[in-house]
């Protein structure tokens, strides 16, 4: 990089920017699934806790964070648009109704806790609590569906891998939610949710194996990839992390368990991305190279991302450290 003119002709430092953006996209999606994942998981757990005080604790655990967590999805949408506009256009218009279902679920999930806290009246809270559960359950399910459809290049919305991966993502968010809650709660409730985490983890592993098996048996285009060392390694890593999660949970090592959950999320993203690469839209057989924008915008976006992503991590550091430590129900922040 010596001058501005080169920005339009050569990629920064000769880097394979399109490939890096492909990786970055799945990283951003992973950040969203991990961070908003525990919001979803806690929303789902909301259904099995009837006690008002417990519900208040569950909400208090995520109230200062969820807005910021959800922005990762906005960044994912924007980045997909910016780096691979053709893919953004193809995917979002191909899964038209699915995209609106996702938006409706996210809308419900975002609004309901905000509304829940506005009034103390019982019926109001009952219905907004239900809306919170519904949104938290459907959002990860539909996002999993979207991911699976994208990966196998489905032309319809409701597909078998879509449903299985959707359920797997739901289970994963519950694992995530439990791990985060164990860090944020104290006392009796913290011990009781431990089993929920184990159950969800078991469900996730079963659905994970089913997905891999389905791809091995029926998706011939992806079959050879499945045996590549990277993917085989990530599959093994998933099981190692699951064992690690269980171990850390049983020893009450809350931070490590949450770390293992993050590992599980990013392993899943890694598997999806590696199965797809070098294609970025299997439905249209579009490669990363051909779908990417030209060099100048790619360079600008890369400079932007390199400067801004570290800053974003600083913001998140400030936010999470300001609200570190366990919450109690009477804490109104």
């Amino acid at each position: 990089m010596t001058n501005v003119e080169q920005l339009a002709t050569e990629p920064l430092f000769g880097l394979p920017l399109a490939d890096l953006w492909f990786v970055l996209l799945f990283f951003i999606l992973g950040m969203f699934l991990f961070l908003d994942g525990f919001d979803f998981g806690i929303g789902i757990l909301f259904a099995i806790h009837d006690d008002d005080e417990e519900k208040a604790q569950l909400l208090a655990a995520i109230t200062p964070f969820w807005d910021a967590n959800e922005v990762w999805l906005v960044v994912f949408g924007g980045s997909l648009f910016a780096a691979f506009p053709v893919v953004y256009a193809n995917l979002f218009s191909r899964y038209y109704l699915l995209m609106f279902a996702i938006l409706a679920a996210l809308g419900l999930r975002g609004l309901s806790p905000e509304m829940y806290e506005q009034r103390e009246d019982e019926r109001w809270r009952l219905w907004w609590g239900r809306a919170f559960v519904l949104g938290s359950l459907t959002a990860p399910f539909l996002l999993g569906m979207f991911m699976a459809n994208w990966l196998v290049g489905a032309t319809t919305i409701i597909t078998l891998p879509g449903i299985v991966v959707g359920l797997a993502v739901v289970a994963l968010t519950v694992v995530d939610g439990v791990a985060f809650l164990r860090l944020k709660l104290c006392g009796d409730l913290r011990d009781r949710i431990r089993m929920d985490g184990y159950h969800a983890l078991t469900a996730y592993l079963i659905l994970f194996v089913l997905t891999i098996g389905y791809i091995q048996l029926t998706v011939s285009a992806l079959r050879p990839d499945l045996r590549s060392p990277v993917i085989a390694g990530l599959v093994v890593l998933t099981f190692v992390l699951a064992v690690f999660y269980a171990g850390a949970t049983s020893r009450d090592q809350y931070g490590l368990a949450l770390g293992a959950t993050a590992g599980l999320v990013f392993s899943l993203m890694g598997i999806v991305a590696s199965l797809m690469f070098p294609i970025v839209d299997p439905g249209f057989e579009l490669t990363v190279e051909s779908a990417a924008v030209s060099i100048l915008p790619l360079n600008i976006m890369s400079i932007g991302a390199v400067l801004l992503l570290p800053l974003i991590f600083v913001y998140f550091g400030v936010l999470y450290s300001a609200f570190s430590g366990p919450v109690t129900a009477d804490e109104s922040y």
Binding site: A8, T63, P64, F65, D67, A68, E70, V71, L73, V74, V75, G77, G78, S79, L80, F81, A82, A83, P85, V86, Y88, A89, N90, L91, F92, S93, R94, Y96, L97, M99, F100, L103, A104, L106, G107, G110, L111, E114, M115, Q118, R119, S290, V293, S294, L296, P297, I300, M301, G304, A305, L308, L309, I312, Y315, F316, V318, L319, A322, F323, Y333
Partner: protein, 474 residues
């Protein structure tokens, strides 16, 4: 089934019209919140803590609803306007991604600290988080308006054929991002946001002041509302005249860069000089009454006024008429009336600002019941004016989605069926009506319950603590 093109356009219009309310609320509230926070920390005066807490509550609800509706907006470019996204992605996607990374992240993370962290972080970090939230909302507008203004005055690109399709290639990022329209849009929009919120604040405060001082209702903490009214009036006195000044220059810029839009704003059908500035225009035949493209108009206007405004002082200047363009005119009546009502309201706000300030100066601010009524009646008109302004901007540029490059009718997703589009359109109409109703309900509740009672606040204690520390250090 509604035609997918029409359904997509309607759906997008609904999304934008509803969404814009929430960013206007956040952008407009941001400078007030920074000011309240600064005063609260500096003076330790409980009233500023009340002001900060009360308006932060409204900010937080607006932000949550704005996130939901904004995400829809971002996705709709892909779902409904895939053809546009494919063609213009290089120029349009970048600003959206940068908005997310640069602005929205800053706003959302520090909003968590700002709303919930008063007792958890230091005063300094707390003040910084109010600035970060404000900066985030304004930077958001920068990137969104860069994207939008590029569609109005596209620069810095070339058209190339890629995979058999003509697409936009970015060639000069600075020219594209800082295109001629951007500064006008930004200044006009930001000022409008602050002005709208000032009007809203003034209207809400006037309601309580009126009930207390005119009707004699006992209202606790009336000084909270009196202070709110004064602060809102000061903000209105600054923003209202500015809005008219750069609004005039902005309109001149439109006449230079988007002459078809300008002709629609003035309903000029044939190229003429000495064009009057019509105050009203009415179709002369009954069957033309509902036709937005009606040409036979009876107008009352100021002779040479439009020419004078368009050229910046020459009443004889020529204005190109709508017939001079090869593309069909936008629905002229909509643009014409939206523009007129916007301008009229803009002047009304100046009148309100001067009237209120004059009464204040005379020491009669809390006695003038007519002023209170006028402020109450105008409390939502700022938002109405913003909507009208966007109608002028967006309807006025039709048939183009990218001025001179791509037509709106060619921008819709090719695979979209009428059934899908109709289904989501119905969903939108119901969902967004409920959403808006819910938002109004919640904001009204916040207003009705008033500021947090003073005895629940602890800022006085905190200021005492600070004093003690200072003494100890001495």
């Amino acid at each position: 089934m509604v035609d997918p093109v029409l359904a997509s356009r309607l759906q997008f219009a609904i999304t934008v019209i509803v969404h814009i309310i929430f960013p206007v609320m956040s952008m407009g509230l941001a400078p007030f919140l920074i000011y309240f926070t600064w005063k609260e920390i500096r003076s330790g005066d409980a009233i500023y803590e009340q002001l900060r807490r009360f308006w932060t509550n409204i900010f937080a609800v607006s932000f949550a609803v704005g996130t939901v509706t904004g995400l829809v907006l971002e996705f709709e470019f892909g779902t409904n306007f895939a053809a546009f996204s494919t063609v213009a992605g290089e120029l349009f996607g970048g600003p959206l991604a940068l908005e997310g990374m640069m602005a929205f992240m800053l706003e959302a993370t520090f909003l968590g600290v700002f709303v919930f962290g008063r007792d958890r972080v230091s005063d300094r970090l707390y003040f910084l988080s109010s600035v970060a939230v404000g900066l985030g909302t304004w930077l958001s507008a920068v990137w969104i308006l860069i994207a939008n203004s590029w569609m109005q005055t596209p620069r810095g690109f070339e058209m190339v054929t890629e995979n058999g399709q003509r697409v936009v290639h970015l060639t000069d990022a600075l020219a594209a991002y800082f295109n001629p329209r951007f500064p006008w849009m930004f200044v006009h929009m930001q000022n409008a946001a602050v002005e709208s919120v000032a009007l809203f604040m003034a209207g809400v405060a006037a309601y309580y002041v009126f009930r207390h001082h005119v009707w004699g209702y006992p209202i606790q903490q009336i000084d909270f509302w009196e202070t709110t009214l004064k602060i809102a009036l000061i903000a209105l006195l600054i923003t209202a005249p500015l809005q008219a000044i750069h609004g005039d220059a902005y309109a001149r810029h439109v006449s230079e860069t988007q002459p078809q839009k300008f002709a629609a704003m003035e309903a000029v059908w044939e190229t003429e000089s000495y064009v009057p500035e019509y105050i009203v225009a009415i179709p002369t035949t009954i069957d033309q009454l509902l036709n937005p493209w009606a040409k036979d108009l009876f107008g009352i206007g100021i002779p040479g006024g439009a020419s004078w405004l368009a050229s910046g002082g020459n009443a004889q200047a020529t204005i190109r008429g709508l017939d001079a363009f090869s593309t069909q005119a936008p629905p002229v009546a909509i643009v014409f009336w939206a523009f007129r009502i916007m301008v009229a309201l803009g002047f009304w706000f100046i009148v309100l600002a001067i009237w209120g300030t004059y009464r204040w100066w005379r020491g009669e601010l809390f006695e003038d019941d007519l002023l209170h009524k006028a402020l109450m009646g105008s409390s939502l008109l700022g938002f109405v004016t913003v909507e009208l302004g966007w109608i002028v901007t967006e309807v006025g540029r039709q048939p183009w989605v990218i001025q001179g490059i791509m037509k709106t009718t060619d921008s819709v997703s090719p695979g979209l069926t009428g059934a899908e589009a109709t289904f989501t359109l119905i969903g939108f109409i119901t969902g967004y009506t409920l959403l808006l109703g819910l938002y109004i309900y919640v904001v009204a509740r916040i207003i009705k319950s008033g500021p947090p009672p003073r005895d629940e606040l602890d800022s006085i204690d905190r200021s005492l603590q600070t004093d003690t520390e200072v003494t100890t250090n001495d």
